[in-house]
Amino acid sequence: MESYPLRYPLISHMADLSVIFAGISSPNPFWLASGPPTNTAYQAHRAFEAGWGGIVWKTIGDPTPNVSSRYSALHLGGSRMVGFNNIELISDRAPETNFRELREVKDRWPDRALIASLMTDTREHWHDLIRRAEDTGVDGMELNFGCPHGMCERGMGSAVGQNPDVAEKITSWVMEVATKPVIVKLTPNITNIVHAALAAKRGGANAISLINTIRSITQVNLDHFVPEPYVDGASTHGGYCGPAVKPIALNMVQNCAQDSDFGLPISGIGGISNWRDAAEFMALGATTVQVCTAVMHHGFRIVEGMIDGLSTYLDSKGMDSPHALIGRAVSSLHKWEDLNLNFKRVARIDHDTCIGCNLCHIACEDGAHQCIDLLDPVTTGIGYGPGRMPGKAVPVVREADCVGCNLCSLVCPVDQCVSMVEIPTDSQPMTWSQYQVLLSQGDIAPIPPHP
């Protein structure tokens, strides 16, 4: 452990990436989530050496045996592991082994955040586990109320997180003895995440982290009809994570951040693979972010790019700390009824960068609102060029009919080729709520239905 190769001194960035999360200091907001990469001291040393700001240790509890195999994935169009699922349970190592290693790691890396993830059942067991964890010198504890497979069948994990009353009660047991910050990790397998977040707060938690994995089946083997991961002719519902879950996680993080009754710090989890993902979570209210699948895919080294990317980004925005970013986008989300009905955006195609795949045309034609025509480049005055040759039609937007849905710009394979342009209107902004009021007062004629 002492013989790491020498490195050139780090180039110092203008932005200081350190954050304080529920009283826990971390040199950067990038933490490893509780999971296979945080199972041993050996891994923790390697992770901190690579630059991770914090580690949430793999959940400690009554050690449990595991099955073989354990992981499965969704691959998409040549991209491996766009989504990932696992049926691995909490640590299969003895608590005393884990606690001994936690102490060793904290001694060696005093400036990093080290969090013990815990899971047990009775009040007495929780008290015992909290005390033993705190004895190791960790900076805080994370309560695993989210594991959606195996442990929930034993009344733990998501079985707790899915029942706000139980989650509140167990959190309060923990708070009876905890002296270090306590983070409650939430399950997304619930109708309204804010209920779970508020329950954790009522129980006395200092922070929450989310999301844990989503119950899933990633693929079915079409030869023997048993999904992966395959265990002796059977499978079970696994916990889904990886890049594909990011939109779900962002939504839940923002829901909690926006709730005026909540107000606790949030550690964002779910499909974070790079600095951009992290920055988006932070903009929606996360103070730290936790990463697992991306490390399982590429190793601890990815943190260097995350640190560098976030620093450069913050510098470019004139932000001197991640705290300047945290929560910046939260208030931009409104109810649908509070969106301006009189805002108009249309698609514009840059024919000089268009390569002529016509995907915008067919997407609009078959999948949206039929307002991109294929026309002759000469008679339209667009002329020939790359993608515009004799006998080959070019896509042209009928702006008057364009509803501004974005679909063409989403399917276009060329960056910046289809842009969505705001069209000024004479109308004053009017939301659905305002429209309802105006209608009831007879101050406005009903908006005619689309032909």
């Binding site: 169009g77 795949c357 016509n358 995907l359 067919i362 025509d373 294929l374 006998g391 080959k392 394979p413």
Partner: protein
């Protein structure tokens, strides 16, 4: 994307340079390449293909693991899909039209097509329907080259009784005996001939129409005739000393490569090839690859006037061939024993005179038109100014009722895929003429209604796959 260059399995270790210069894609490479395809709508690659193969559909099928389905899409549009995958100048056809080529690499459509067709051939998977129920019409085809086979397959699939008359012992035309060995082995072509026969087409080889059988008999016995006799064997220079030992048509030299063991092919030490087309390139390149100590190509015009494709010229240079330009041959030189010693040239611009020594001279100055043969077969058949059959570009119909023509004898000499496309076009017109049934393109084209230049058969695919 790495371009594979592994040697083919059927190794001819004595002549490693004669192995395929562009080997097949591995399964993984094919999958990765297929996943790059954008799946364009109204895709330019389809329109660039004279047989109208629905390229995005077959590439998408490869990307989902349905390689058999990909082969179906290809072979129902172009029965010679396996040979076209090897010999098509994809750089100027489908791949040249690929929209990804504007900024980076186009999809390697040719290699993907080969991947799919090889897949079913290697596994003996039958992707085409068994012969259609006979509709009572009989069609005769003269010539079992790409045009004849392309026409026969579509007609047979529609229920016509098709008989092809082929003067050679083996069917397949230049695909069987005239393609550079390092591009395609004759087996690929012969497999395709069997595929056409599996549709119920009868091929009578060794039958020379005009000698063994009078063309009038065909006109009486059959409801329609498709003339696809190709071009003649090599033209002559018409200069002193040309007739004699050591001088051959380049096509005969290439044919030897296909028909006799490579070690028995007669190759000089100093080989001189005269011509500027793709056959000249194939000949000079193969002479060098077969062990000639020097191989020189002499062309009477400048390099940019060569009809050979630039990438073919690059292949020849890569094989260490020498290319000289503006070289006008004046006299073939022989010693007192009559052995070939060289060719005297004058330079087109400067008029300088010089001698290129050689002990083998291969002539690739074009194949002569078959105007005499055509006139003897069908005295009333109208020919065009260059001695080819005058045909309607949309129907391949000729000046004679019931007689259609396509391939090199009509177009003057184009690619294999053009010949197949013309065969398909003729099949469409013959079917319409005999049955009165309309021929409807398979796919919806764009609503824009832009008139496209007539490009082969478009998307008309009467050959149905086994699971349609």
């Amino acid at each position: 994307m790495a371009r594979p260059n592994q040697p083919s399995a059927e190794s001819q270790s004595q002549f490693p340079l004669m192995e395929e210069i562009r080997g097949p894609l591995s399964d993984r490479a094919a999958l990765a390449e297929s996943q790059r395809c954008l799946y364009c709508y109204d895709a330019p690659c389809i329109h660039a293909c004279p047989t109208g193969i629905d390229v995005p559909t077959f590439v998408k099928k490869i990307s989902t693991g349905d390689v058999t389905g990909a082969a179906k899409t290809i072979l129902t549009a172009n029965i010679l899909g396996a040979s076209c995958a090897r010999v098509c100048p994809t750089e100027v056809l489908c791949e040249g039209a690929c929209v990804l080529g504007h900024e980076y690499d186009p999809i390697q459509i040719g290699l993907l097509q080969r991947h799919a067709t090889d897949f079913v051939t290697a596994r003996g998977i039958s992707v085409l329907d068994s012969p259609a129920k006979a509709n009572g019409f009989r069609v005769a085809i003269i010539g079992a080259g790409p045009a004849g086979l392309g026409c026969a397959a579509d007609l047979a699939a529609l229920g016509h009784r098709v008989v092809i008359f082929e003067k050679e012992a083996l069917a397949g035309g230049l695909n069987t005996r005239g393609v550079a060995y390092y591009k395609m082995k004759p087996k690929v072509s012969l497999d395709e001939v069997r595929l056409v026969e599996s549709l119920g087409v009868e091929i009578r080889t060794g039958v020379n129409v005009g000698k063994d059988l009078h063309a009038d008999e065909l006109l009486t016995e059959y409801d329609a005739i498709f003339v696809a006799i190709g071009l003649g064997s090599g033209s002559r220079l018409g200069i002193p000393g040309e007739v004699g030992a050591g001088v051959r048509a380049a096509l005969d030299f290439i044919r030897d490569i296909h028909e006799i063991p490579l070690e028995n092919v007669s190759v000089g030490k100093k080989v001189l090839v005269i011509g500027g087309g793709n056959t000249a390139i194939d000949a000079v390149s193969q002479a060098r690859r077969l062990g000639a100590s020097s191989a020189t190509l002499a062309y009477r015009r400048k390099e940019d006037q060569m009809s050979a494709y630039a990438f073919e010229v690059a292949h020849a240079r890569a094989a260490d061939c020498r290319l000289i330009f503006e070289a006008i041959p004046r006299e073939v030189l022989r010693n007192t024993e009559g052995n070939l010693t060289g060719v005297r040239f004058t330079h087109a611009s400067s008029g300088t005179e010089w001698i290129e020594p050689c002990d083998q001279l291969l002539l690739a100055i074009g194949q002569p038109k078959q105007d005499h043969l055509l006139k003897s077969l069908f005295p009333a058949l109208e020919l065009n100014a260059i001695g080819c059959v005058l045909t309607d570009p949309l129907t391949a119909g000729t000046s004679l009722h019931k007689v259609f023509a396509g391939g090199d004898c009509a177009n003057g000499g184009m690619e294999v895929v053009n010949a197949v496309g013309e065969g398909k076009k003729a099949a469409m017109a013959i079917h319409h003429m005999l049955t009165g049934k309309p021929t409807v393109p398979k796919l919806q084209t764009s609503r824009s209604g832009i008139a496209r230049p007539a490009a082969g058969a478009g998307l008309w695919n009467p050959i149905r796959s086994a699971t349609h």
